[in-house]
Amino acid sequence: MLLTLAWRNIWRNKRRTLITVASVAFAVFFAVAMQSIQKGVWNHMLDNVVNFYYGYAQVQQSEYWEEQSLDRALTYTLQLTADLEAVPGVQGMAPRIESFALAAGAAQTHGVMVIGVDPDAEHQLTALRDRVTAGEYWSASSVGALITDGVAERLEVGLGDTIVLLSQGYRGVNAAGKYEVEGLLHFASPELNKRMVYLPRPTAEQFFGAEGLATSVALDIDSKEEVPAVLAALQQSIDTTELAVKGWQEMIPDLVEAKELDAASNNLVLMILYLIITFGVFGTILMMTRERSYEFGVLIGIGMHRWQLSAIVWLEIVLLGLLGVLVGALISFPLVYYFAVNPIDLSVMGEEAVQTYEKFGMEPVLPAAVDSGIFITQAIIVFVITTLLALYPWLKIRSLQPISAMREG
């Protein structure tokens, strides 16, 4: 009955309720849209880097991360493979050996990242085969290079051409080699697309003079959510004096922080928006409280406790707010869903916009994230706001004198 009473009270002044609900719905709609895009863009960007390159976690020699030097490579043994595979949550692994090199075509040079991988394991983890846009992915006997189209463009080389790689190998030996371009790759992340050169691992080991070594072993983990548990398990099972485990957040701390910064500035905007909406809702509550003081007096007069009355009024206000959340969510969901399926393509804004995004290592698309957490967060925010606002009628009811309230009515 209390719920019925509260619900009917809301609809006593339809116009006012509609305005209030609309204002909350507006805030919720806007917050959901903004956060979905924000979250979508960053997740997309982080996923680009994490899924296509780092992997969710890596095992490295304990000093490798600091120095990123071949001299800090780990010895990749069958024993290590077995140890890692034994860790629950680890589906597979991809050993890599990587270092910078100068790549030269017939006339051009360009600094690149040379990365030696196991063709099958790498495809398992990062779907590398799917990135081949021209030529063929490696077969068992391949010794050639797969380069990104960005590198190919810089070096002015194409399929079947030869590139020269120059670098410093293991323990300072000179590394030099000629490799045929067997395929072209394309990465969405502009940052990766302009610098990646892949070699089969044996070829790369030869090039770097680093037989049996790997700079990192990327681990295949099913989802982001499992990462902390797997990391903890790995800490237990490996020799931490020799090896170190790195989670994806550790490997791209700047991006993670930049995401937080962006989220913080968005939250500021939303906070202000909600504050203004709060004022509006408070106005409604103010009027509602005043015009019902006679009724409140009667109810207390006939034996209703003040807390019961406050509970009804609280329920009304919270219902009003949550109704706004519901409407806002219903309006925003299709929109968010649409943009999740069809990301906003900024390339229509012209070449300059595309370049700007590329400069920041982003693809010029804005996909939205569909995340029920965003909707729930809005509901919680509105719930808290309305509960706080219900303090006002509560205070009024607490000090209400039924006789004078009825006289004024």
Binding site: M1, T4, L5, R8, N9, W11, R12, Y294, E295, V298, L299, I300, G301, I302, G303, M304, H305, R306, Q308, P402, I403, M406, G409
Partner: protein, 229 residues
């Protein structure tokens, strides 16, 4: 023993500034089954007396007991519960909850008393029938006439089986026909069910039908007349 007993009740408003003596020592006894009108000109203190008897207001001095309970010793929350279980109120106007139907209004106090749904249902229907509104139970107050609203208010006041019903100017906003109808119902309830009624009024139609008339002036009882049938 009287169901309502006041001894030396005084009420002073504004004691710090310009004191207004609304009641100056009222001794009143009301027995079960009475049909009593408290009358007097505006400012005579009748509403104050009614508020004090009803536990809505506290006397500045003196003692009030209702059904043997000294209500001036109760704290606010106890008083609310006491009112809920022992006193039925009928106010001047607008005293129904506008968003509830007539029957729901009658059930409301029983809900606060945590009665079972079956009991609420049954009793509210009985009471609606007793006030002659069995065909109006699903109407909201705004859809009913003033007289009908007041009859619902009487039904609601009776719902918790109170010791007595307190009615503050119940006919003030009603036309003659509605007034007579309401008074008929109250008189019948009084006679057949033994419900005790206490009114404040200055409506002659009500005074004519009262069996006891207590007249107040300037905060004191100046006459107390008991009439036969």
């Amino acid at each position: 023993m009287s169901i309502i007993q006041t001894r030396g009740v005084t009420k002073v408003y504004n004691p710090d500034k310009i004191p207004v003596h609304a009641l100056r020592g009222v001794d009143l006894d009301i027995e079960a089954g009475e049909f009593t009108a408290i009358v007097g000109p505006s400012g005579s203190g009748k509403t104050t007396l009614l508020n004090i008897i009803g536990g809505l207001d506290r006397p500045s001095d003196g003692a009030v007991s209702v059904g043997g309970t000294a209500i001036n010793d109760l704290n606010d929350n106890q008083l609310i519960d006491f009112r809920k279980d022992n006193i039925g109120f009928v106010f001047q106007a607008y005293n129904l909850i506008p968003v509830l139907t007539a029957q729901e209004n009658v059930e409301f106090v029983m809900l606060l008393q945590k009665r079972s749904p079956e009991e609420r249902q049954q009793r509210s229907q009985e009471l609606m029938a007793a006030v002659g509104l069995e065909d109006q139970i699903n109407k909201r107050p705004a859809e009913m006439s003033g007289g009908q609203q007041q009859r619902v208010a009487v039904a609601r006041a009776l719902a918790p089986k109170p010791t007595f019903i307190l009615a503050d100017e119940p006919t003030a906003n009603l036309d003659s026909a509605s007034t007579n109808n309401l008074l008929d119902i109250m008189a019948r309830l009084n006679k057949e069910e033994g419900v005790t009624f206490v009114f404040s009024t200055h409506d002659q139609r009500v005074i004519d039908r009262a069996r006891r008339v207590v007249t107040l002036d300037d905060g004191q009882i100046i006459s107390d007349e008991v009439r036969g049938e």
